[in-house]
């Protein structure tokens, strides 16, 4: 899993069966210093409470669909948690 920042929402009326009611958010993956790293992804919101600006963690690949109520859906990134706190061991900061 990776950290990410929610930076937007995606609205799609026409989508694959099984994705009805699923909220999609644009997420910028972050490194552990919370700097943007890599390209933005569209992630399904599996916690139903994430919103723009929030720090979240996302799961990628096949396991993303496992976060959905119906696990056989075409989803490859999912938000599976909203970060309350990130604690870095002293000395591990670069």
């Amino acid at each position: 899993m990776q950290l990410g920042r929610v930076i937007g929402t995606v609205v799609a009326t026409v989508k694959s069966p099984g994705l009805e009611g699923v909220k999609f958010l644009v997420v910028q993956p972050l490194d552990r210093q919370l700097r943007p790293v890599g390209g933005q992804v569209v992630a399904a919101d599996a916690v139903h409470m994430a919103g723009p600006g929030e720090l979240v963690y996302i799961v990628a690949a096949r396991e993303a669909a496992q976060a959905m109520p119906e696990p056989f859906v075409p989803v490859d990134h999912a938000i599976v948690g909203i970060v309350d706190a990130l604690s870095i061991l002293p000395g591990a900061e670069p």
């Binding site: 899993m1 990776q2 552990r32 396991e63 948690g81 990130l86 591990a92």
Partner: protein, 112 residues
């Protein structure tokens, strides 16, 4: 599987039910020499690993669910071991015993 070093923790109250009551560890990925490989993962702890320890990281979904005993869970990455030592002497042409991989003394007692 991959080598990593525990550098922090992630806490959340709003998350998929699979992560309830589990510890999420932020782990830097390591080369076998113990040097940072670049990148990190957030992994679910299954062994009671603590800060600063070198760990073995499993990054495959089916195995992860099997270890956790869950049929459906959006979990792919687990800490499945605490590394005592990595020995590279058996491989010709590779630098001998990795210097930095030895795990520092435990800071926390092993959790249940």
């Amino acid at each position: 599987m991959k080598l990593g070093r525990v550098v922090g923790t992630v806490t959340s109250t709003i998350n998929s039910p699979a992560f309830d009551d589990r510890t999420l560890l932020l782990c830097d990925l390591l080369e076998s020499s113990g040097e940072p490989a670049g990148g990190y993962v957030i992994a679910v702890d299954t062994v009671g690993a603590g800060a600063g320890e070198t760990v073995l990281i499993l990054d495959e979904g089916n195995s992860a669910r099997q270890v956790l005993g869950l049929a459906q869970a959006p979990v792919r990455t687990l800490v499945v071991g605490i590394v005592d030592n990595v020995d590279l002497e058996a491989v010709e042409g590779v630098a001998k015993r990795g210097p930095a991989v030895g795990t520092p003394r435990r800071r926390h007692p092993k959790r249940a």
